[in-house]
C-alpha cells in the first residue's frame, strides 16, 4: 500500500471529522484550511511521484488486482487531484469571508471536506464500482452543501439537482451491472484488456452509450444539462465555486477515462455521437448565457458551453485534440472557480447578482475589476491567457482534421463568450450603480480571506498563459498514456510476462 496514494484521500476525511466536531467553534474553518493545505502538499508529492514513475498503483488490503480495490494515479489522475487540491485550498480560505456561523454550525466545513475527498477518490480509483461509490460520496456531500441555507431557492434548485443526478446514478449502476455480466471484471486495466474479447460488440456499444448518458448528466452536456443552471446560482458562493470548478469536471474525467481506455472498440460510432453532443453543448450553453442577466446564471451556462470544448477534444480522439482537452480541463477549473468567487465579492459589495441592478465596481473597486478581467478574458480565449492556448490547441486539432464547420462553431462560441463577459463587465463594473452606491473593497468584511484566493487563482491563470510550454508538454505526456494504456495496465495488473 502506497501512502502517497492514500494520503490525498485520508487527509480530507480526517479534516471532515475534526471540522464536524468543531463545527460550533470558529476553529472549524481553520481545520478546513489546514486540511486543504495538507491535502495540497500530499497531492504535490503524488504529482512528483507520478511524474517520475509514469503510473503508480496500489492495492488496498493487498488483494491482488483485479480482485481487490485498486488506487491508480497516472498523469491525468495526478493533475486532476492536484488541481482539486488547489481549488479546494482557495475555496477553504474564501469560506472564512463567505460562510456564516449558522452554515458552519450545520456542518459546512465537514461537508466541504467530504466533497473534496469524493472528488479526489473519483480521480484516483482504478475500478468502475469504486468510481460509483466515490460519485455517491461526492453527490451526498454536494446535496448537503446545496441546500444548507434552506431557503426557497435552494430547495427548489436542490430538487432538480437531486432528481436528475439520481437518475444518472442509476443508469451508471445498470451500466456497471451489464458490463460486469459481459466481461466479468470492473477493474479499468482489466476491462481495457477484456472488452476486446467480448463476442457481442454491438451490445458493448449499447453499454457504452449508457455510460455516456450517465457521465453526460454529471458533465452537464447537451441535452442532459438542465439540472446545472437550475441549481448552481442558489447556494453560497464558495459552494457554487467549488461545484462549478470540480463537479462537472469529474463527469468529463470519467468520460475521458472510459472512452479512451475501455470503449475504444467502435470509435466511428461513439465518438461521432460525442462530436455532435460537443457541438450542441457549446452552442446551447453560450446562447443560454446570452439570455441570462444574473451574474451566476451567466457563468453557469458558460460552464456548459466550455464543457463542450473538452468533449470536443475527446470526440476528435487525435493526440493533439486530447492534449487540448486535458489542457482545457486544468485551465477551466481554475478560471471558473475564480469567476464564481469574484461573483461573491461583487454581490457583497453591491448587494446583488442581477447585473442590471448593480454597477459601479470599476470606479470604486478597480482592483476587483482587474481580477475579474483576467479569468473573464481567459474564459473567452484572449491571448496571452490560459484560455487562449486551450482553445488554440482544440481549434488547431479540428483544422488538422479538416473539420471546418466544427472549427467555425468553436471559434464562434468563443466570440459569443466575449459577448456575455462584456455584458457582465459593462453592467456590473462599468456603469454607475443604479442606487448610487459606491462600494469599496475596503468596506468588505474579512477582505484578505476573499481577495487572496481570487488573486492567487488569477496569478495561476497568468502563469499558465505566459508560460504554456511545460503545461502543453505535460498534457502531451498525459495523452500518450491515455492512447496507449500499456503502462497503466502493467502498473495495475503486473507484468504479463
Amino acid at each position: 500500500m502506497s501512502w502517497y496514494l492514500t494520503l490525498p484521500l485520508i487527509i480530507p476525511f480526517m479534516a471532515a471529522i475534526i471540522a464536524y466536531l468543531l463545527r460550533s467553534s470558529p476553529l472549524g474553518a481553520w481545520v478546513s484550511i489546514i486540511g486543504s493545505g495538507l491535502g495540497l502538499i500530499a497531492s504535490v508529492v503524488l504529482m512528483a511521484v507520478v511524474l517520475d514513475a509514469g503510473v503508480v498503483a496500489g492495492q488496498m488490503g493487498n488483494w491482488p488486482a483485479p480482485f481487490g480495490i485498486t488506487l491508480v494515479a497516472d498523469l491525468l489522475s495526478a493533475v486532476m487531484v492536484l488541481i482539486t487540491a488547489i481549488t479546494g485550498f482557495a475555496v477553504a480560505i474564501y469560506a472564512l469571508g463567505d460562510i456564516n456561523e449558522r452554515q458552519a454550525k450545520l456542518g459546512y466545513h465537514a461537508l466541504f471536506q467530504i466533497l473534496l475527498a469524493g472528488v479526489t477518490g473519483a480521480f484516483l480509483t482504478g475500478d468502475l464500482f469504486n468510481l460509483y461509490v466515490w460519485f455517491e460520496v461526492m453527490l451526498i456531500a454536494s446535496f448537503g452543501l446545496l441546500i444548507l441555507n434552506g431557503g426557497k431557492e435552494q430547495i427548489d434548485g436542490g430538487v432538480k439537482y437531486v432528481a436528475l443526478n439520481l437518475i444518472s446514478t442509476i443508469l451508471f449502476l445498470t451500466g456497471i451491472g451489464l458490463l460486469y455480466g459481459m466481461t466479468g471484471t470492473l477493474n479499468f486495466a482489466d476491462l481495457a484488456l477484456k472488452v476486446d474479447e467480448v463476442e457481442n460488440q454491438g451490445l458493448l456499444t449499447v453499454v457504452a452509450m449508457m455510460f455516456m448518458v450517465a457521465f453526460g448528466v454529471k458533465a452537464a452536456v447537451f441535452p442532459l444539462f438542465f439540472w446545472l443552471p437550475a441549481a448552481y446560482h442558489t447556494p453560497s458562493f464558495s459552494v457554487s465555486a467549488v461545484f462549478a470548478g470540480l463537479l462537472t469536471k469529474v463527469g468529463v474525467y470519467a468520460l475521458i477515462r472510459m472512452f479512451t481506455m475501455v470503449f475504444d472498440h467502435d470509435i466511428g460510432f461513439t465518438h461521432t455521437v460525442l462530436l455532435w453532443v460537443a457541438c450542441f453543448t457549446m452552442v446551447i450553453g453560450v446562447l443560454g448565457a446570452a439570455a441570462q442577466s444574473d451574474f451566476r446564471k451567466i457563468l453557469s451556462f458558460h460552464i456548459i458551453s466550455q464543457i463542450g470544448y473538452m468533449i470536443l477534444g475527446l470526440a476528435l480522439m487525435t493526440p493533439l485534440a486530447l492534449v487540448g482537452a486535458v489542457f482545457y480541463l486544468v485551465h477551466h477549473i481554475i478560471v471558473k472557480a475564480n469567476l464564481f468567487l469574484i461573483a461573491g465579492i461583487a454581490k457583497r459589495l453591491t448587494g446583488g447578482t442581477e447585473v442590471y441592478q448593480i454597477g459601479g465596481l470599476y470606479k470604486s473597486a478597480p482592483f476587483l475589476a482587474v481580477l475579474f478581467l483576467i479569468p473573464a478574458f481567459s474564459l473567452a480565449g484572449f491571448p496571452p491567457l490560459s484560455g487562449f492556448w486551450a482553445k488554440y490547441i482544440i481549434v488547431k486539432a479540428t483544422l488538422d482534421l479538416e473539420m471546418w464547420f466544427v472549427a467555425f462553431i468553436a471559434l464562434a462560441v468563443g466570440l459569443m463568450t466575449i459577448y456575455s463577459m462584456t455584458k457582465i463587465w459593462a453592467e456590473a463594473f462599468w456603469k454607475p450603480h443604479p442606487d448610487g452606491i459606491e462600494p469599496e473593497l475596503k468596506t468588505l468584511p474579512n477582505k484578505a480571506a476573499q481577495i487572496i484566493p481570487v488573486a492567487g487563482l488569477a496569478i495561476l491563470t497568468i502563469i499558465i498563459g505566459l508560460n504554456p510550454e511545460p503545461f502543453v508538454i505535460f498534457a502531451e505526456r498525459t495523452t500518450e498514456q491515455l492512447l496507449d494504456p500499456t503502462a497503466y495496465i502493467t502498473a495495475v495488473l503486473g507484468d504479463p510476462s
Partner: protein, 120 residues
C-alpha cells in the same frame, strides 16, 4: 430463472418510467426507487445465477468445489442498496421540505430558482 428475473426487471423499469413522467414529485420518487431496484436486480442477474450453491470453501481447501454462486455481484448489490437507500431517504426529506416551503409538489410550479420573467 434468468428469463423470469429479466421480465421482472423490464416490468419494474416500465412502471418506474411511467411514474417518473408524472409532475408530482412524490410519484417521481416512487419511480426512482423502483428504477434503483431494477438496477440492483440487473447486477444480480449479470453475475449469473447458480441456485442452491453457496460459495463456501471446504475445510483444508483454497477454493470452493464445482459451480458456486458468484459472491461479487451480491457484494456490489448490497453496497448499491445501502447507498440507494441513503440517497432515497435524503430525497424524501427534501421533497417534504419542498412541500413545506414551496407549498406544492407539482414540479411545473417549482419556479422559484428559475422564474419565468426576468426581473429587470
Amino acid at each position: 430463472m434468468e428469463q423470469l428475473l429479466s421480465i421482472l426487471i423490464g416490468i419494474l423499469v416500465a412502471s418506474a418510467v411511467y411514474l417518473m413522467l408524472a409532475r408530482n414529485l412524490l410519484r417521481f420518487l416512487f419511480g426512482l426507487i423502483l428504477l434503483s431496484n431494477a438496477a440492483n436486480l440487473t447486477i444480480f442477474v449479470a453475475g449469473r445465477l447458480t441456485p442452491g450453491a453457496p460459495p463456501l470453501v471446504p475445510d483444508g481447501m483454497d477454493a470452493p468445489i464445482g459451480d458456486v454462486a458468484n459472491a461479487l455481484p451480491q457484494a456490489l448489490v448490497l453496497t448499491a442498496i445501502v447507498i440507494g437507500f441513503g440517497l432515497f431517504a435524503f430525497a424524501l426529506i427534501l421533497a417534504f421540505r419542498a412541500y413545506q416551503s414551496l407549498g406544492t409538489l407539482n414540479t411545473d410550479d417549482m419556479r422559484v430558482a428559475e422564474p419565468k420573467e426576468i426581473k429587470s
